[in-house]
Amino acid sequence: MANIELGGGASPSDEETQLYADRVKVYPKEAHGRFRTIKWIVMAVTLGIYYLLPWVRWDRGPYLPDQAVLLDLPARRFYFFFLEIWPQEFYYVTGLLVLASLVLFLVTAVAGRVWCGYTCPQTVWTDLMVAVERFWQGDRNARLRLDKHPWAFETIWKKSATHLTWLAIAVATGGAWVFYFADAPTLAKQLLTFSAPAAAYFFIGLFTVSTYVLGGIAREQVCIYMCPWPRIQGAMFDSDSLLISYRDWRGEPRGAHKAGQSWEGRGDCIDCNQCVAVCPTGIDIRDGAQLECIQCALCIDACDAIMDKVGRPRGLIAYDTVRNLEAGAPNAEPLRLLRPRVLLYAGLIVLVGIIMIVALMMRPVLEVNVIHDRNPLYVKLSDGGVRNGYEVKILNKQYVPRAFKLGVTGLPDATVQLVGHDSGVVPVPPDQLKGVKLHVALDKEGVRALPDQATQFQFVVTDIATGETMEHNATFQGPPKSGAK
């Protein structure tokens, strides 16, 4: 039995071993039922949001764009309804992403791959593409028949119509994407007159190709081979998560069933394969939980319809916990929702949510930054005084122009000279950052009076109109104290 073969190579007895598998095309049948209805609604809502959101307007006054959701890359601003995020506030987006992943974890711990089954863009667009395919080519059996005659006229025109519709959807998807990055009505006009920026056409093309290829052609291959999420899921479920499961204790032994036959001594599964036929990833849920299952619940709809027909109770395939499956009865164990991991995720969501709300509410509309010239740190003047250079940056986060006065405290007898603003007033346009160069000088006596080589003082920025002030610490640097001439 010592069949040692270092270096590999199939053994002669296994010459049929294939290292690469042909794709088995999946022909999902249309399902009808509760979950299919929910999925249609989710599709309508998510796609509706995606395609229409850029067209929603939001009045921000005369100086700012009125698009509700806008990623203004050239101006480096992100507008989201009442929110406006500057690049240095990107942590709000980080917070949002943290929140989103925590919600994902929570939902997964409670009810499995709800994200994958209902809301993942890959699922939604694939569902849409399959619906288009079904519209032109008919349901599962019709499609199987068409593929048997690939060169028949009927096949060719129906497939062409399908692919053209897919392409149209793909173009619309790419087209909607770019509207998030520019004023939608303006860009739409530019696109139609072929005067839009090249980047717009590029991204429309990119998303057209990716939507067409991933949603129309690759479909379940994306979930099975490309997506990391199915691999991560395993660590997020536990035996109390509600997962789409085949209740084998009720279904087995399975077998064909004729009307009028007794149900004694056999399972409820009549082996009709409807759960397999509707599955968008082409698996058999009766094999148990598996990586390929995106938990879209369509097999529940398919099975429930059959159970209704044969007069058995629904729920042979249902959302159930591993604990219940092992107990072999529905609701054998009370549903344990308040598990440590659920509580942990929920607690973290509340925590992050509170932090974000507090951060948002405390968001200042005026910020001041001071940058001390480093090279040189100070300049000696002819009268024996010392001058330091600073750049003061004022961020006006309000939507109106403001004017500011700049002064210093904590540095007696210092002279302040604003470079380029002889009036001593710095106007800052609405929603802008303005940097001003500033010289602060002390005369010989002033320098001598300083206790240390480096002295802390404060810049005071005052809004001339409102009187609002803001202080910012800075350091005044002089020559070394020891050994000074």
Binding site: T17, A21, D22, Q221, D373, V379, K380, S382, R387, G389
Partner: protein
């Protein structure tokens, strides 16, 4: 045929590899994955044909497109120059007042000036224009020759004691070396010069030095030591010293003289760059 026990959960058998009874499941990749790999191989071959790819003994394969990063950079630079030509032209034509009054033009000039300063001036005057011993600090308020923007431009154009015919030129005699003053006289003079900024160590010596100063130094440095920009004679009554204001350094200066040299840039830089430099240096805090 592999029996049921020898099948993976996905329904495939083993690859046939076995090491000490440990077998390897065959979970085959989809074929299209393999085809994507082949496609990348074909892409690579296409890339070799189109772009520079392989080294040869003394050169490399140039590729059908003849793409070169260096040429690309030159193209980009040319394009950028073309883009900024509007500003460069305005800087060439406009006088300093016009440039300084136009915020856009001014910021262009300052940015260009800063870059040119780093390339041409920083080796002597320092990255921050803070100067070194013998190389003036351009940020302070003392100027040996001129602190006006036109004066700074003049200095950059023609240099100081350079071989340019219009260079700024002056020569302080080496009083000690030439035997014009003896050591005591030099020492007294140094004391007097120190007293001009209130730093004398020996009031008597300073008093003796005053007379020597009046005859030997005042012609250029002025009777009160305020200096004379027309002659490039530094102000001796302020707190700033190019070489040092201590006694030893002053004695050395009077004995051997000083003649710092700055090259003329009129041949090296175009007029617009020199203008930008003048604007930049003038903006550093000391401009008059």
């Amino acid at each position: 045929m592999a029996n049921k026990e020898e099948k993976s959960p996905e329904g495939f058998g083993t690859t046939g590899h076995e090491w000490d009874g440990i077998e390897e499941w065959n979970n085959p990749l989809p074929k299209w994955w393999l085809y994507v790999f082949y496609a990348t191989v074909i892409w690579a071959i296409g890339y070799w044909i189109v772009y520079p790819a392989w080294p040869t003994v003394s050169s490399y394969t140039k590729g059908y497109l003849g793409y070169s990063q260096r040429a690309q950079v030159n193209k980009d630079i040319a394009a950028a120059k073309k883009q900024t030509a509007v500003f460069s032209d305005k800087i060439n034509e406009g006088d300093f007042e016009t440039i300084q009054a136009d915020p856009e033009l001014l910021s262009f000039a300052l940015a260009g000036g800063q870059a040119a300063f780093g390339d041409n001036c920083a080796p002597c005057h320092g990255r921050g224009a803070q100067g070194f011993v013998g190389y003036p600090n351009l940020r302070d308020d003392a100027w040996i020759w001129a602190g006006s923007i036109d004066g700074i431009q003049q200095t950059i154009l023609h240099g100081i004691r350079s071989d340019d015919p219009q260079t700024r030129m002056s020569m302080m005699p080496a009083f000690g070396e030439l035997g014009m003053l003896n050591r005591e006289q030099i020492s007294d003079t140094a004391e007097y010069v120190m007293s001009l900024s209130g730093n004398e160590q020996d009031a008597e010596a300073a008093a003796r030095g005053q007379e020597i100063y009046a005859t030997s130094c005042a012609a250029c440095h002025g009777p009160d030591g305020a200096g004379n920009q027309a002659l490039g004679a530094p102000n001796l009554s302020d707190e700033l010293w190019l070489y040092g204001g201590d006694k030893d350094t002053l004695v050395e200066t009077i004995t051997y003289s000083r003649a710092g040299m700055m090259p003329a840039f009129s041949e090296r830089l175009d007029p617009a760059t020199i203008k930008k430099l003048a604007i930049y240096v003038h903006s550093l805090g000391g401009g008059q």
